[in-house]
Symmetry: D2
């Protein structure tokens, strides 16, 4: 059994803690939150005594690994502390909003041999995984185009935007990682347009964007398009389309159920898509824990590692430079 | 070029006449209707002089074949006259509402060698045909169950019911034929329930039914279900499902277009199904003419012949006997 | 917190025990199996000491309710024992294969006021529930036809058949209940045909059937068709279609994921349907526990009670009488 | 009745001629092709004497309008000749490969009042039209993103590429027009990447591209993505997706029929998409003729006019400039 402690008991931390507790080969070995009440609530529900200070977690012999679901500015520090204490890490994205800080963290943990997994949950979604597997198995021949549709069901509150780091670092970063996963290759050029269409006033004030389109290209010419919106009223829209020389694979959306309606106006009308990430990616989050437990058991390289987190952030940086310059940006310009 | 004359210039006759006129290997060689105005209108639109009397059609050397789309009570007479004149026949269903008259017609034309095709258009629908072909090709192994959904978009007018001959002879007869086509075998037992749910008053007055469910069985045990309703507000509902030991094939509905809508309440909401037979089976009606032209050119057995028309009517008779007795009826009881 | 003990630690008992253990308002208060090893395994996995004898369960003050997932012949006895001990019951279907035994059990527990829920899980499926809710909300006007497709992915082993009680009591019984749920009304007539198409030898030897079609009718004429097969190679096929005067609702199948494939031969090719009841009805089984916990908390009538179990069995009896007589059977003939 | 002559009797000319001949309010008033044999074949099939010289067409009093389906370099000349002769025009895209020639043609016909329609058939597709109508009716609120997928089923022959004028002028030009139609607004910026992934050798030799991704933006920030490929083996892939503040509309692909297959490996596997434009856009081409006939009858502005043809070409020019510079190009740079 792998002992995993969860740092951060907000929405996503609570979900992870429950998944850890339910995992047959894992034990929830601790919970911590800067807000002691939040930690106490999760601890009570799952039968774990919350840590009074984060240091207790790193010092505990029952803790083999930590799952970092705290506020973004603490991620890099906790990764470094965990690795120093010899605890494996599963850290929510992004590693940090600042690429320089990410680089320092990378140096700090270099050569440690401690597994550090980054929380790009979408790679573990059964549909996305089946699509990628089909490509890897040669089902569609040579991959030529990837189209990623990634739209949130609604605008988050202002307070969220204030710390999120901007659309590309907060939301698109998942799509940048998914693009790398699906392409099986590195994008070397990035073009981006960003729009302020849903809440122009707020977006302008915060210098952020709520709507975006991106085009990327790999060294051998594979093309990838990402489109983002903060408002898909029909549900969290998460699709991936992969076109190759001998076929296409599409990973589509999930609904809460498969009842459809027929009337004088419509046929085959389905339910809205699952509302947001906790519902849409429920299986992915469980499979992510599964992969992490296996990785800690084997003390091996994770399927999605620190470098994946860093490269996704670099693509976000390149997208911002493209926004600023109006041109296709070479990724090595921002590395 | 095959010269085809159309008898009957109502809705379905007009459609057939246009299809004949547009066929590359056929010529519309005459039109006739008891209502001279109806014939004149079709003739004018398609450049054909209408016949003043039906005898002109049968006497014309330009007429190789007649398409009978007149009122049901005239079908058997016209078949006999056409065969006597050596003209091939494509006759709309049913041959007659009375099985005895059908038998006499059969005797009258026996041994003539003149092709007589019956207008079971659904056999020529590309989807139904693809489904049957898949079964014939062994794609689903041994066929076990056939489910036919057949629902009209709305109630016809009272005048229609008064001459239609009852639900099973008028509407279900198409499904009885389709069942035989899909089963590739003869049903030997029929069970039926009929309901008066949509317009109970009218149905009771006319001793007719607007809603029905049927179960049939072949000698080797294959099962077939048909359900009928006169009111599918979402469009003409025409589905066939074929279950076998190694798979299933389903022939589904067609829409006018493939635009779908997404909102806060629904996703993937499609257009209503094509409204009725002229639209839904447009391709089938054209393919039916195509098969008839080929059959006349070769002076060969049609794909759907007189015996198919007779057998479908026998199944309707068996269904009525089941209604009357509340039991599964052996088809040979009514033959 | 409601204390629930699980009797029977086979496949379905283990699933229920895990669901009980994971429920926020329930506690797994005991497990028992005639095979002590099976009980020990479930107990170890879920942290519960297995009972050495079933009597310990009924005597335990920690047990508010029992979930009966033992062999069918024990169901009625355990229901009576539980009710006598004042423990609420959730009992897997069928109550018993013998209607007489069911009647005696009914008498034995009459007037106790102890909640007895029957395990008709499908009523709790989100898709089926949404379909039923749409009808109840008047979305499709007056309900006219119900079509239930219910096919297992493959034949169970011979040992299963030997004790299952026949297709209608074992498999169709779920569909009989679902029909009642969807109709919102009692069928008063039943017609059935049964076939031996998949394994004719075994079915004949056991006097059982592997393929069936059923038609039922309510007092006011609503029609219901059920089709069953033991071999749907494309997955557990569980559909419900509800036709009304102003629309239709269909509850369809679930897949493990939504990836689709496109090639030179096919488009939109989806994954097989979820394999069997544990996967397909995972949410339904959880919702069933949820409803049961709420029912025990309120010590109230369950949503699906003893009488529902009895009525489904009566419909199975009527279906067997129809098989034997070849006619539509009035349900009150077998009550 | 409107007399329409068809210039050019190649594949698309033959199709148009048949559609004109079948139109209830139009008459095929002449056919011409530089290859007299091609014109003779179409004339024979449709009962029209082919013109020996193009001048006969422009001089004929029976000709109210000409449909220009000849080789691209002749389009502008024939438009000018037709307008000078007072004949309305329906001209296949593009007006010319050279924007300068298009400008001169524009000047030459300015103020004539003669209707000139450009053959952007996709605007008349029932699905695309329903999607646009839904947006116009406010169904999705404010339009934010348009995604156009446009992929040919396979590579045309080398001879085709040699005269086609490059991917953006030949193939994407339809998508540029569709983008304008769907946006209901002018793109003011264009970004494009082009790839040589399917036949790199041929594409490099001809300085052409077989795979592309484009991003455009309107003055008020609406975003549009187009993706193109010359090889979608699953059929001609023609989709449009429109995202707005209160919903989404998608216009999807059409299949030859709606039969689907189920096996141990797949479910709901549909037929390939309709192979190419003649099949996929059959209804659109008929509706295009319908609109043209109405436009000639009223001697009014066509729904898709010369300026639409010119603007689509300008977007192609902007896309080429983007390819050359690697940056987002303002459309007014190339006007």
């Amino acid at each position: 059994m792998v002992g995993i402690a969860v740092l951060g008991c907000g929405r996503i931390g609570r979900m992870h803690a429950a998944n850890v507790a339910a995992h047959p080969n894992a034990v929830l070995a601790g919970v911590y939150d800067i807000d002691a009440g939040a930690a106490a609530a999760v601890g009570a529900a799952l039968g774990v005594t919350p840590a009074g200070a984060v240091g207790e977690i790193f010092a505990s012999p029952d803790v083999d690994a930590v799952l970092i679901a705290t506020a973004t500015p603490t991620h890099a520090d906790y990764i470094e502390m965990a690795v120093a204490a010899g605890k494996a890490v599963l850290c929510e994205k992004p590693i940090d909003l600042d690429l320089g800080r990410v680089e320092r963290c990378r140096s700090a943990i270099a050569g440690s041999g401690v597994p550090v997994q980054i929380g790009f949950n979408r790679r573990f979604d059964p549909g996305h995984r089946a699509a990628r597997d089909a490509v890897a198995a040669g089902e569609i021949g040579d991959l030529h185009q990837v189209v990623i549709t990634s739209r949130d069901p609604g605008m988050p509150p202002r307070s969220y935007y204030e710390v999120a780091g901007g659309l590309f670092r907060d939301m698109t970063i998942h799509d940048f990682d998914l693009a790398r996963f699906m392409l099986g290759d590195e994008p070397v050029e990035v073009f981006a347009v960003g729009g302020r269409l849903i809440d122009p006033g707020l977006m302008a004030e915060l210098d952020d964007h709520d709507t975006a389109m991106i085009v990327m290209r790999t060294a051998d010419g594979k093309q990838c398009h990402i489109n983002n919106s903060r408002t898909a009223v029909y549900g969290y829209d998460q699709r991936v389309e992969l076109l190759g020389t001998t076929g296409m694979v599409v990973s589509g959306n999930r609904k809460a159920h498969e009842a459809t309606r027929y009337s004088a106006r419509v046929t085959e009308a389905a339910a809205p898509y699952q509302f947001f990430f906790v519902e849409r990616y429920a299986e992915a989050f469980r499979a992510e824990i599964d992969a992490f437990v296996a990785c800690v058991e084997a003390w091996a390289e994770p399927q999605v590692g620190f470098e994946d987190g860093r490269r996704a952030l670099i693509l976000a940086e390149a997208a911002y430079r493209s926004l600023a310059t109006g041109r296709m940006v070479r990724v090595d310009e921002v590395e």
